[in-house]
Protein backbone atom coordinates (compact mmCIF):
# COMPACT_ATOMS: atom_id res chain seq x y z
CA UNK A 1 0.00 0.00 0.00
CA UNK A 2 2.67 2.47 1.01
CA UNK A 3 4.79 1.43 -1.93
CA UNK A 4 1.88 1.98 -4.29
CA UNK A 5 1.19 5.43 -2.89
CA UNK A 6 4.88 6.23 -3.11
CA UNK A 7 5.06 5.25 -6.77
CA UNK A 8 1.60 6.67 -7.58
CA UNK A 9 2.76 9.12 -10.23
CA UNK A 10 5.30 6.74 -11.73
CA UNK A 11 2.72 4.00 -12.24
CA UNK A 12 0.15 6.54 -13.44
CA UNK A 13 2.58 7.66 -16.12
CA UNK A 14 3.35 4.09 -17.15
CA UNK A 15 -0.35 3.26 -17.32
CA UNK A 16 -1.15 6.30 -19.47
CA UNK A 17 1.77 5.68 -21.79
CA UNK A 18 0.89 2.00 -22.25
CA UNK A 19 -2.15 2.96 -24.35
CA UNK A 20 0.11 4.30 -27.07
CA UNK A 21 1.96 2.29 -29.72
CA UNK A 22 5.42 1.07 -28.80
CA UNK A 23 7.28 3.56 -31.00
CA UNK A 24 5.63 6.63 -29.49
CA UNK A 25 6.07 5.58 -25.88
CA UNK A 26 9.40 7.22 -24.96
CA UNK A 27 8.35 10.53 -26.54
CA UNK A 28 4.97 10.41 -24.81
CA UNK A 29 6.64 9.67 -21.49
CA UNK A 30 8.87 12.72 -21.86
CA UNK A 31 5.96 14.96 -22.84
CA UNK A 32 3.92 13.68 -19.91
CA UNK A 33 6.73 14.42 -17.44
CA UNK A 34 7.16 17.92 -18.87
CA UNK A 35 3.45 18.73 -18.66
CA UNK A 36 3.24 17.30 -15.15
CA UNK A 37 6.13 19.51 -13.97
CA UNK A 38 4.77 22.62 -15.68
CA UNK A 39 1.27 22.00 -14.35
CA UNK A 40 2.45 21.28 -10.82
CA UNK A 41 4.63 24.36 -10.65
CA UNK A 42 2.07 26.66 -12.25
CA UNK A 43 -0.35 25.60 -9.51
CA UNK A 44 2.32 26.02 -6.90
CA UNK A 45 3.06 29.51 -8.27
CA UNK A 46 -0.59 30.47 -7.77
CA UNK A 47 -0.67 29.05 -4.25
CA UNK A 48 2.63 30.71 -3.32
CA UNK A 49 1.53 34.17 -4.45
CA UNK A 50 -1.63 34.09 -2.35
CA UNK A 51 0.17 32.55 0.64
CA UNK A 52 2.94 35.12 0.39
CA UNK A 53 0.48 37.99 0.45
CA UNK A 54 -1.45 36.43 3.30
CA UNK A 55 1.65 35.75 5.39
CA UNK A 56 3.13 39.19 4.69
CA UNK A 57 -0.18 40.69 5.70
CA UNK A 58 -0.09 38.71 8.92
CA UNK A 59 3.49 39.85 9.63
CA UNK A 60 2.53 43.47 8.97
CA UNK A 61 -0.59 43.19 11.12
CA UNK A 62 -3.17 43.45 8.35
CA UNK A 63 -5.49 41.05 6.60
CA UNK A 64 -4.04 40.64 3.12
CA UNK A 65 -6.26 39.88 0.12
CA UNK A 66 -9.73 38.82 1.26
CA UNK A 67 -12.20 39.93 -1.43
CA UNK A 68 -12.15 37.27 -4.14
CA UNK A 69 -13.64 33.94 -3.12
CA UNK A 70 -13.63 32.48 0.40
CA UNK A 71 -10.84 34.16 2.47
CA UNK A 72 -9.55 35.68 -0.77
CA UNK A 73 -8.31 32.31 -1.95
CA UNK A 74 -9.31 32.94 -5.55
CA UNK A 75 -7.10 36.03 -5.74
CA UNK A 76 -4.48 34.33 -8.02
CA UNK A 77 -7.20 33.55 -10.58
CA UNK A 78 -8.35 37.16 -10.56
CA UNK A 79 -4.74 38.35 -10.91
CA UNK A 80 -4.17 35.97 -13.79
CA UNK A 81 -7.25 37.15 -15.68
CA UNK A 82 -6.23 40.75 -15.11
CA UNK A 83 -2.70 40.12 -16.40
CA UNK A 84 -3.92 38.28 -19.49
CA UNK A 85 -6.44 40.88 -20.52
CA UNK A 86 -4.24 43.91 -19.94
CA UNK A 87 -2.83 45.79 -22.89
CA UNK A 88 0.72 44.86 -23.72
CA UNK A 89 2.56 48.17 -24.04
CA UNK A 90 5.91 48.25 -25.81
CA UNK A 91 7.77 51.58 -25.56
CA UNK A 92 8.23 53.41 -28.84
CA UNK A 93 12.01 53.60 -28.47
CA UNK A 94 12.36 49.99 -27.39
CA UNK A 95 14.26 47.39 -29.30
CA UNK A 96 11.14 45.39 -30.14
CA UNK A 97 12.64 41.97 -30.83
CA UNK A 98 14.96 41.91 -27.82
CA UNK A 99 12.16 43.31 -25.66
CA UNK A 100 9.96 40.42 -26.75
CA UNK A 101 12.63 37.75 -26.36
CA UNK A 102 13.76 38.66 -22.83
CA UNK A 103 10.91 36.92 -20.92
CA UNK A 104 11.20 33.88 -23.19
CA UNK A 105 14.93 33.61 -22.54
CA UNK A 106 14.18 33.79 -18.83
CA UNK A 107 11.44 31.18 -18.59
CA UNK A 108 13.04 28.42 -20.68
CA UNK A 109 16.18 27.88 -18.57
CA UNK A 110 14.17 28.02 -15.38
CA UNK A 111 11.82 25.33 -16.66
CA UNK A 112 14.83 23.26 -17.74
CA UNK A 113 16.34 23.60 -14.28
CA UNK A 114 13.09 22.36 -12.72
CA UNK A 115 13.33 19.19 -14.81
CA UNK A 116 16.58 18.16 -13.13
CA UNK A 117 15.31 17.86 -9.58
CA UNK A 118 14.42 14.46 -8.06
CA UNK A 119 10.89 14.95 -6.74
CA UNK A 120 10.58 11.50 -5.25
CA UNK A 121 11.75 7.91 -5.55
CA UNK A 122 12.18 7.25 -9.33
CA UNK A 123 10.72 10.67 -10.02
CA UNK A 124 13.49 12.52 -11.87
CA UNK A 125 12.41 13.82 -15.26
CA UNK A 126 15.95 14.14 -16.64
CA UNK A 127 18.66 12.10 -14.96
CA UNK A 128 21.90 13.58 -16.22
CA UNK A 129 25.31 12.45 -15.10
CA UNK A 130 26.30 16.08 -14.58
CA UNK A 131 22.94 17.21 -13.20
CA UNK A 132 24.11 19.96 -10.92
CA UNK A 133 26.42 21.39 -13.57
CA UNK A 134 23.44 21.50 -15.91
CA UNK A 135 21.46 23.32 -13.25
CA UNK A 136 24.04 26.09 -12.94
CA UNK A 137 24.74 26.20 -16.67
CA UNK A 138 21.14 26.92 -17.60
CA UNK A 139 20.76 29.14 -14.56
CA UNK A 140 23.45 31.44 -15.91
CA UNK A 141 21.23 32.30 -18.89
CA UNK A 142 18.89 34.23 -16.60
CA UNK A 143 21.50 37.01 -16.25
CA UNK A 144 21.43 37.47 -19.98
CA UNK A 145 17.66 37.74 -19.97
CA UNK A 146 17.81 40.41 -17.30
CA UNK A 147 20.28 42.36 -19.39
CA UNK A 148 18.11 41.99 -22.49
CA UNK A 149 15.07 43.26 -20.61
CA UNK A 150 16.90 46.23 -19.13
CA UNK A 151 18.78 47.27 -22.23
CA UNK A 152 15.98 46.85 -24.75
CA UNK A 153 13.57 49.01 -22.75
CA UNK A 154 15.72 52.13 -23.45
CA UNK A 155 14.84 53.48 -20.04
CA UNK A 156 17.42 54.55 -17.50
CA UNK A 157 15.60 52.97 -14.58
CA UNK A 158 15.50 49.69 -16.47
CA UNK A 159 19.19 49.89 -17.31
CA UNK A 160 20.19 50.76 -13.75
CA UNK A 161 18.04 47.93 -12.45
CA UNK A 162 19.50 45.47 -14.93
CA UNK A 163 23.08 46.49 -14.14
CA UNK A 164 22.41 46.15 -10.43
CA UNK A 165 20.81 42.78 -10.99
CA UNK A 166 23.67 41.44 -13.09
CA UNK A 167 26.34 42.70 -10.69
CA UNK A 168 24.45 41.09 -7.83
CA UNK A 169 23.83 37.81 -9.59
CA UNK A 170 27.46 37.43 -10.69
CA UNK A 171 28.70 38.19 -7.20
CA UNK A 172 26.38 35.76 -5.48
CA UNK A 173 26.73 32.99 -8.03
CA UNK A 174 30.22 32.31 -6.73
CA UNK A 175 29.24 31.47 -3.10
CA UNK A 176 26.19 29.62 -4.47
CA UNK A 177 28.32 27.28 -6.56
CA UNK A 178 31.16 26.98 -4.03
CA UNK A 179 28.81 26.04 -1.20
CA UNK A 180 27.54 23.10 -3.23
CA UNK A 181 31.10 21.86 -3.83
CA UNK A 182 31.36 20.38 -0.32
CA UNK A 183 28.25 18.25 -0.94
CA UNK A 184 29.67 17.07 -4.24
CA UNK A 185 32.96 16.20 -2.56
CA UNK A 186 31.26 14.02 0.03
CA UNK A 187 28.79 12.38 -2.33
CA UNK A 188 31.43 11.85 -5.01
CA UNK A 189 29.01 12.51 -7.85
CA UNK A 190 27.37 15.33 -9.78
CA UNK A 191 24.11 13.48 -10.32
CA UNK A 192 21.25 14.74 -8.16
CA UNK A 193 19.46 11.38 -7.57
CA UNK A 194 22.75 9.86 -6.43
CA UNK A 195 23.31 12.78 -4.04
CA UNK A 196 19.90 12.05 -2.51
CA UNK A 197 20.82 8.39 -2.27
CA UNK A 198 24.04 9.25 -0.45
CA UNK A 199 21.93 10.95 2.25
CA UNK A 200 19.59 8.01 2.86
CA UNK A 201 19.95 5.76 5.88
CA UNK A 202 20.03 6.62 9.56
CA UNK A 203 22.72 7.02 12.20
CA UNK A 204 21.98 4.88 15.30
CA UNK A 205 18.84 3.80 13.41
CA UNK A 206 17.10 7.06 14.28
CA UNK A 207 19.00 10.22 13.25
CA UNK A 208 18.79 11.13 9.56
CA UNK A 209 22.02 11.19 7.58
CA UNK A 210 21.22 14.52 5.92
CA UNK A 211 24.05 16.85 5.01
CA UNK A 212 22.57 19.69 7.00
CA UNK A 213 23.33 17.83 10.25
CA UNK A 214 27.09 18.04 9.74
CA UNK A 215 29.12 21.20 10.42
CA UNK A 216 30.09 21.70 6.78
CA UNK A 217 26.56 20.87 5.66
CA UNK A 218 25.00 23.37 8.04
CA UNK A 219 27.42 26.12 7.02
CA UNK A 220 26.93 25.20 3.38
CA UNK A 221 23.17 25.27 3.76
CA UNK A 222 23.19 28.72 5.33
CA UNK A 223 25.59 30.09 2.70
CA UNK A 224 23.55 28.48 -0.04
CA UNK A 225 20.28 29.93 1.19
CA UNK A 226 21.72 33.45 1.51
CA UNK A 227 23.20 33.26 -1.98
CA UNK A 228 19.94 31.78 -3.30
CA UNK A 229 17.95 34.68 -1.87
CA UNK A 230 20.24 37.07 -3.69
CA UNK A 231 20.16 35.04 -6.90
CA UNK A 232 16.38 35.06 -7.02
CA UNK A 233 16.31 38.82 -6.30
CA UNK A 234 14.19 38.52 -3.21
CA UNK A 235 14.15 40.80 -0.19
CA UNK A 236 16.44 41.75 1.53
CA UNK A 237 18.45 41.51 -1.71
CA UNK A 238 15.78 43.00 -3.98
CA UNK A 239 17.81 46.01 -5.10
CA UNK A 240 17.35 45.22 -8.79
CA UNK A 241 13.64 45.76 -8.44
CA UNK A 242 13.57 48.20 -5.52
CA UNK A 243 10.15 49.58 -6.36
CA UNK A 244 10.69 52.50 -3.99
CA UNK A 245 13.91 53.72 -5.70
CA UNK A 246 14.00 52.61 -9.32
CA UNK A 247 10.35 51.63 -9.84
CA UNK A 248 10.84 47.88 -10.36
CA UNK A 249 14.13 48.11 -12.27
CA UNK A 250 14.33 46.06 -15.41
CA UNK A 251 10.62 45.30 -15.25
CA UNK A 252 9.65 48.97 -15.55
CA UNK A 253 8.63 48.84 -19.20
CA UNK A 254 6.91 45.48 -19.06
CA UNK A 255 3.18 45.08 -18.77
CA UNK A 256 0.46 42.54 -19.28
CA UNK A 257 1.40 39.00 -20.12
CA UNK A 258 5.14 39.60 -20.47
CA UNK A 259 5.23 41.00 -16.96
CA UNK A 260 3.30 37.94 -15.77
CA UNK A 261 5.89 35.71 -17.44
CA UNK A 262 8.71 37.52 -15.64
CA UNK A 263 6.85 37.21 -12.40
CA UNK A 264 6.25 33.50 -12.89
CA UNK A 265 9.85 32.87 -13.95
CA UNK A 266 11.04 34.58 -10.79
CA UNK A 267 8.92 32.29 -8.64
CA UNK A 268 9.89 29.23 -10.65
CA UNK A 269 13.52 30.15 -10.15
CA UNK A 270 12.82 30.33 -6.45
CA UNK A 271 11.22 26.87 -6.52
CA UNK A 272 14.13 25.46 -8.51
CA UNK A 273 16.79 26.81 -6.19
CA UNK A 274 14.81 25.74 -3.11
CA UNK A 275 14.39 22.28 -4.64
CA UNK A 276 18.14 22.15 -5.16
CA UNK A 277 18.69 23.13 -1.52
CA UNK A 278 16.33 20.35 -0.42
CA UNK A 279 18.15 17.87 -2.64
CA UNK A 280 21.65 18.86 -1.60
CA UNK A 281 21.29 19.54 2.10
CA UNK A 282 17.93 18.35 3.42
CA UNK A 283 18.08 14.78 2.18
CA UNK A 284 15.83 15.19 -0.84
CA UNK A 285 12.82 12.92 -0.60
CA UNK A 286 14.11 10.95 2.39
CA UNK A 287 11.95 10.79 5.50
CA UNK A 288 13.44 12.43 8.61
CA UNK A 289 12.80 9.40 10.83
CA UNK A 290 12.60 5.70 9.98
CA UNK A 291 9.11 5.32 11.46
CA UNK A 292 7.80 8.03 9.12
CA UNK A 293 8.81 6.20 5.98
CA UNK A 294 5.21 5.23 5.18
CA UNK A 295 4.59 8.81 4.00
CA UNK A 296 5.21 8.95 0.21
CA UNK A 297 8.60 10.30 -0.83
CA UNK A 298 7.17 13.09 -3.01
CA UNK A 299 5.12 14.33 -0.07
CA UNK A 300 8.34 14.71 1.92
CA UNK A 301 9.96 16.60 -0.91
CA UNK A 302 7.13 19.06 -1.27
CA UNK A 303 6.80 19.48 2.49
CA UNK A 304 10.46 20.47 2.69
CA UNK A 305 10.08 22.74 -0.32
CA UNK A 306 7.11 24.45 1.29
CA UNK A 307 9.04 24.98 4.51
CA UNK A 308 11.92 26.62 2.67
CA UNK A 309 9.54 28.89 0.75
CA UNK A 310 7.86 29.87 3.99
CA UNK A 311 11.30 30.77 5.28
CA UNK A 312 11.87 32.99 2.25
CA UNK A 313 8.57 34.77 2.85
CA UNK A 314 9.36 35.22 6.53
CA UNK A 315 12.74 36.76 5.72
CA UNK A 316 11.10 39.07 3.21
CA UNK A 317 8.65 40.27 5.82
CA UNK A 318 11.34 40.81 8.43
CA UNK A 319 14.50 42.31 6.98
CA UNK A 320 15.02 45.72 5.36
CA UNK A 321 16.72 46.09 1.98
CA UNK A 322 20.52 46.27 1.83
CA UNK A 323 22.50 49.08 0.26
CA UNK A 324 24.52 48.28 -2.86
CA UNK A 325 27.94 48.58 -1.21
CA UNK A 326 26.80 46.48 1.76
CA UNK A 327 25.56 43.88 -0.69
CA UNK A 328 28.89 43.68 -2.52
CA UNK A 329 30.97 43.69 0.67
CA UNK A 330 28.87 40.90 2.08
CA UNK A 331 29.32 38.73 -0.99
CA UNK A 332 33.01 39.23 -1.57
CA UNK A 333 34.37 39.72 1.95
CA UNK A 334 32.19 37.31 3.88
CA UNK A 335 30.34 34.71 1.81
CA UNK A 336 33.18 33.90 -0.56
CA UNK A 337 35.90 33.32 2.09
CA UNK A 338 33.44 31.38 4.22
CA UNK A 339 32.52 29.07 1.39
CA UNK A 340 36.20 28.47 0.62
CA UNK A 341 36.86 27.67 4.27
CA UNK A 342 33.87 25.36 4.19
CA UNK A 343 35.51 23.33 1.44
CA UNK A 344 38.63 22.93 3.59
CA UNK A 345 36.48 21.83 6.53
CA UNK A 346 34.77 19.28 4.32
CA UNK A 347 38.15 17.83 3.45
CA UNK A 348 39.01 17.67 7.18
CA UNK A 349 35.74 15.88 7.85
CA UNK A 350 36.41 13.43 5.07
CA UNK A 351 39.93 12.54 6.15
CA UNK A 352 39.14 12.34 9.86
CA UNK A 353 36.87 9.38 9.10
CA UNK A 354 39.81 7.06 9.74
CA UNK A 355 39.86 7.70 13.50
CA UNK A 356 37.81 5.02 15.16
CA UNK A 357 38.35 5.54 18.91
CA UNK A 358 35.43 6.12 21.28
CA UNK A 359 33.97 9.60 20.92
CA UNK A 360 35.78 10.19 17.63
CA UNK A 361 32.53 11.05 15.87
CA UNK A 362 31.60 13.72 18.43
CA UNK A 363 35.12 15.12 18.58
CA UNK A 364 35.28 15.49 14.83
CA UNK A 365 31.98 17.33 14.88
CA UNK A 366 33.18 19.81 17.49
CA UNK A 367 36.55 20.29 15.81
CA UNK A 368 35.05 21.03 12.39
CA UNK A 369 32.47 23.37 13.88
CA UNK A 370 35.26 25.23 15.66
CA UNK A 371 37.29 25.64 12.47
CA UNK A 372 34.20 27.19 10.91
CA UNK A 373 33.24 29.33 13.88
CA UNK A 374 36.58 31.12 14.30
CA UNK A 375 36.75 32.63 10.78
CA UNK A 376 33.03 33.36 11.02
CA UNK A 377 33.69 35.49 14.08
CA UNK A 378 36.63 37.39 12.62
CA UNK A 379 35.15 37.89 9.16
CA UNK A 380 31.95 39.15 10.73
CA UNK A 381 33.90 41.66 12.79
CA UNK A 382 35.89 42.80 9.77
CA UNK A 383 32.64 43.32 7.89
CA UNK A 384 31.31 45.51 10.67
CA UNK A 385 34.38 47.76 10.70
CA UNK A 386 34.29 51.09 8.95
CA UNK A 387 30.63 51.42 9.58
CA UNK A 388 29.71 55.11 9.97
CA UNK A 389 28.83 56.34 13.41
CA UNK A 390 25.23 56.48 14.41
CA UNK A 391 23.49 59.38 12.72
CA UNK A 392 21.65 62.06 14.62
CA UNK A 393 18.37 63.06 13.08
CA UNK A 394 18.09 66.53 14.57
CA UNK A 395 14.92 67.59 12.87
CA UNK A 396 13.16 64.30 12.81
CA UNK A 397 12.81 63.95 16.54
Amino acid sequence: MTGQLDQLFVSLKQWLVSFLPQAAQPMAGILLSISAIIGAFATMFAITTIMERKILGRIQNRLGPNRVGPFGLLQPAADGIKMLTKEDIVPFAADKLVHFLAPVVLIIPVALALAMIPYGRNMTAVDLDAGILFFFAVGSATELSVFMAGWSSQNKYSLVGAMRAIAQMISYEMPLVLSTVSVLMMAGTLSLPLIVQAQSGYIYEILPRWNVFTPWGLAGFVLFMIAATAESNRAPFDLPEAESEIIAGYLTEYSGFKYALFFMAEYWGLFAVSGLAVTLFLGGWNAPFPFLQWVPSWAWFFAKLGTIIFGFIWVRGTLPRLRLDQLMNFAWKFLLPMSLINIVVTAMWHFSRVFQFVGAREMRWVLCALVLAIPYFFLGRALGEGRPAKRNYKFAE
Binding site: V98, L128, D129, A130, L133, F134, F136, A137, V138, G139, S140, A141, E143, L144, F147, M148, W151, K156, V160, M163, R164, I166, A167, I170, E173, T189, L190, L324, D325, P388, R391, N392, Y393, K394
Partner: protein
Protein backbone atom coordinates in the same frame (compact mmCIF):
# COMPACT_ATOMS: atom_id res chain seq x y z
CA UNK B 1 21.56 13.04 -41.73
CA UNK B 2 20.36 13.75 -38.27
CA UNK B 3 17.71 16.47 -38.27
CA UNK B 4 18.82 17.81 -34.89
CA UNK B 5 22.39 18.20 -36.16
CA UNK B 6 21.25 20.14 -39.23
CA UNK B 7 19.03 22.48 -37.23
CA UNK B 8 21.72 23.21 -34.64
CA UNK B 9 24.44 23.66 -37.25
CA UNK B 10 22.37 26.02 -39.39
CA UNK B 11 21.31 28.07 -36.36
CA UNK B 12 24.88 28.31 -35.10
CA UNK B 13 26.27 29.37 -38.46
CA UNK B 14 23.44 31.83 -39.11
CA UNK B 15 23.87 33.51 -35.75
CA UNK B 16 27.63 33.66 -36.31
CA UNK B 17 27.05 35.40 -39.66
CA UNK B 18 24.65 37.81 -37.97
CA UNK B 19 27.15 38.52 -35.20
CA UNK B 20 29.83 39.35 -37.76
CA UNK B 21 27.65 41.61 -39.89
CA UNK B 22 25.21 43.50 -37.65
CA UNK B 23 25.86 47.16 -36.85
CA UNK B 24 24.50 47.40 -33.32
CA UNK B 25 27.13 46.14 -30.87
CA UNK B 26 24.64 44.71 -28.39
CA UNK B 27 22.89 42.82 -31.18
CA UNK B 28 26.26 41.42 -32.22
CA UNK B 29 26.92 40.28 -28.67
CA UNK B 30 23.50 38.64 -28.35
CA UNK B 31 23.94 36.80 -31.66
CA UNK B 32 27.35 35.69 -30.49
CA UNK B 33 25.78 34.26 -27.35
CA UNK B 34 23.46 32.26 -29.58
CA UNK B 35 26.48 30.92 -31.45
CA UNK B 36 28.16 29.90 -28.21
CA UNK B 37 24.99 28.19 -27.05
CA UNK B 38 24.72 26.39 -30.39
CA UNK B 39 28.28 25.14 -30.07
CA UNK B 40 27.49 23.94 -26.54
CA UNK B 41 24.48 22.06 -27.91
CA UNK B 42 26.70 20.43 -30.53
CA UNK B 43 29.01 19.32 -27.71
CA UNK B 44 26.06 17.78 -25.91
CA UNK B 45 25.08 16.05 -29.12
CA UNK B 46 28.57 14.60 -29.31
CA UNK B 47 28.04 13.05 -25.85
CA UNK B 48 30.50 15.48 -24.31
CA UNK B 49 28.23 16.37 -21.42
CA UNK B 50 30.78 17.90 -19.11
CA UNK B 51 32.52 20.04 -21.71
CA UNK B 52 29.22 21.18 -23.21
CA UNK B 53 27.86 22.31 -19.88
CA UNK B 54 31.16 23.96 -18.97
CA UNK B 55 31.00 25.81 -22.29
CA UNK B 56 27.47 26.99 -21.49
CA UNK B 57 28.50 28.04 -17.98
CA UNK B 58 31.63 29.91 -19.05
CA UNK B 59 30.53 31.47 -22.31
CA UNK B 60 26.83 32.22 -21.79
CA UNK B 61 27.16 32.85 -18.09
CA UNK B 62 30.41 34.75 -17.79
CA UNK B 63 32.01 35.78 -21.08
CA UNK B 64 28.81 37.10 -22.64
CA UNK B 65 27.98 39.16 -19.58
CA UNK B 66 31.52 40.57 -19.43
CA UNK B 67 31.41 41.53 -23.11
CA UNK B 68 28.03 43.17 -22.70
CA UNK B 69 29.31 45.12 -19.70
CA UNK B 70 32.34 46.21 -21.68
CA UNK B 71 30.10 47.34 -24.55
CA UNK B 72 28.09 49.52 -22.23
CA UNK B 73 31.25 50.90 -20.60
CA UNK B 74 32.91 51.82 -23.90
CA UNK B 75 29.95 53.36 -25.64
CA UNK B 76 30.87 55.65 -28.49
CA UNK B 77 29.37 56.84 -31.77
CA UNK B 78 30.23 53.50 -33.29
CA UNK B 79 27.95 53.32 -36.31
CA UNK B 80 29.72 55.95 -38.39
CA UNK B 81 33.16 54.43 -38.01
CA UNK B 82 32.13 50.91 -38.91
CA UNK B 83 33.19 49.70 -42.32
CA UNK B 84 31.63 50.76 -45.55
CA UNK B 85 30.59 47.76 -47.53
CA UNK B 86 33.24 47.95 -50.19
CA UNK B 87 36.60 49.09 -48.93
CA UNK B 88 40.10 47.82 -49.35
CA UNK B 89 39.98 45.95 -46.06
CA UNK B 90 36.75 44.17 -46.98
CA UNK B 91 38.23 43.01 -50.25
CA UNK B 92 41.45 41.84 -48.62
CA UNK B 93 39.50 40.23 -45.82
CA UNK B 94 37.26 38.43 -48.22
CA UNK B 95 40.24 37.16 -50.15
CA UNK B 96 42.04 35.86 -47.07
CA UNK B 97 38.93 34.23 -45.64
CA UNK B 98 38.07 32.60 -48.96
CA UNK B 99 41.60 31.23 -49.20
CA UNK B 100 41.47 29.81 -45.66
CA UNK B 101 37.99 28.38 -46.22
CA UNK B 102 38.93 26.68 -49.45
CA UNK B 103 42.09 25.18 -48.01
CA UNK B 104 40.29 23.95 -44.88
CA UNK B 105 37.46 22.38 -46.84
CA UNK B 106 39.89 20.83 -49.28
CA UNK B 107 41.85 19.38 -46.38
CA UNK B 108 38.69 17.90 -44.88
CA UNK B 109 37.61 16.58 -48.27
CA UNK B 110 40.90 14.82 -48.93
CA UNK B 111 41.41 13.35 -45.50
CA UNK B 112 40.98 9.63 -45.15
CA UNK B 113 38.70 9.57 -42.13
CA UNK B 114 39.15 6.46 -40.04
CA UNK B 115 36.03 4.46 -39.28
CA UNK B 116 34.62 5.35 -35.86
CA UNK B 117 36.12 3.31 -33.05
CA UNK B 118 32.79 2.11 -31.76
CA UNK B 119 29.36 2.13 -33.33
CA UNK B 120 27.62 3.03 -30.10
CA UNK B 121 28.79 6.30 -28.62
CA UNK B 122 30.78 5.71 -25.44
CA UNK B 123 29.23 7.08 -22.30
CA UNK B 124 31.76 9.58 -21.08
CA UNK B 125 31.08 10.16 -17.43
CA UNK B 126 32.20 13.20 -15.52
CA UNK B 127 34.10 10.86 -13.25
CA UNK B 128 36.34 9.68 -16.08
CA UNK B 129 37.23 13.23 -17.06
CA UNK B 130 37.95 14.01 -13.43
CA UNK B 131 40.23 10.98 -13.19
CA UNK B 132 42.05 12.08 -16.33
CA UNK B 133 42.50 15.58 -14.93
CA UNK B 134 43.86 14.23 -11.67
CA UNK B 135 46.26 11.64 -13.14
CA UNK B 136 47.57 12.37 -16.63
CA UNK B 137 46.89 16.07 -16.64
CA UNK B 138 47.77 17.14 -13.11
CA UNK B 139 50.55 19.49 -14.15
CA UNK B 140 48.48 21.35 -16.77
CA UNK B 141 45.67 21.62 -14.24
CA UNK B 142 47.96 23.25 -11.71
CA UNK B 143 49.37 25.59 -14.32
CA UNK B 144 45.84 26.55 -15.38
CA UNK B 145 45.00 27.35 -11.77
CA UNK B 146 48.05 29.59 -11.55
CA UNK B 147 47.13 31.24 -14.85
CA UNK B 148 43.61 31.98 -13.69
CA UNK B 149 44.85 33.52 -10.47
CA UNK B 150 47.37 35.65 -12.33
CA UNK B 151 44.73 36.71 -14.85
CA UNK B 152 42.32 37.69 -12.11
CA UNK B 153 44.90 39.81 -10.30
CA UNK B 154 46.02 41.32 -13.60
CA UNK B 155 42.48 42.22 -14.61
CA UNK B 156 41.85 43.92 -11.28
CA UNK B 157 45.10 45.89 -11.48
CA UNK B 158 44.52 46.98 -15.07
CA UNK B 159 40.90 47.99 -14.66
CA UNK B 160 41.39 49.74 -11.35
CA UNK B 161 40.78 53.46 -11.52
CA UNK B 162 43.85 55.64 -11.10
CA UNK B 163 43.81 57.38 -7.72
CA UNK B 164 43.85 60.83 -9.40
CA UNK B 165 40.56 62.29 -8.10
CA UNK B 166 40.04 64.99 -10.73
CA UNK B 167 40.45 62.54 -13.58
CA UNK B 168 38.13 59.94 -12.13
CA UNK B 169 35.34 62.41 -11.46
CA UNK B 170 35.70 63.69 -15.01
CA UNK B 171 35.41 60.26 -16.55
CA UNK B 172 32.53 59.37 -14.33
CA UNK B 173 30.54 62.39 -15.40
CA UNK B 174 31.21 61.76 -19.04
CA UNK B 175 30.11 58.16 -18.86
CA UNK B 176 27.19 59.00 -16.67
CA UNK B 177 28.04 55.80 -14.84
CA UNK B 178 25.32 55.21 -12.28
CA UNK B 179 26.90 52.11 -10.82
CA UNK B 180 29.51 53.52 -8.47
CA UNK B 181 28.59 55.81 -5.67
CA UNK B 182 31.09 58.61 -5.40
CA UNK B 183 32.39 58.51 -1.82
CA UNK B 184 32.78 62.29 -1.72
CA UNK B 185 29.23 63.04 -2.73
CA UNK B 186 27.94 60.61 -0.14
CA UNK B 187 29.89 62.40 2.54
CA UNK B 188 28.49 65.77 1.52
CA UNK B 189 25.00 64.33 1.58
CA UNK B 190 25.47 63.17 5.13
CA UNK B 191 26.81 66.56 6.15
CA UNK B 192 23.85 68.24 4.56
CA UNK B 193 21.53 65.99 6.50
CA UNK B 194 23.03 67.06 9.75
Amino acid sequence: MDLAFIIIAVLTLASAVAAMSLRNLVHCALCMVMTFAGIALTFLQLNAEFVGLAQLLVYVGAVAILIVFAILLTRSEDAKKEVRFVSSSTVVGFGVVALVAVSLLAAIQHTQILPPQSVVAPHVSVKRIGEQLMTNYVLPLEVIGLLLTAAMIGAVVIAMREPDPADSVDVQQRNGSPLKLDPDSKKTAVVANE
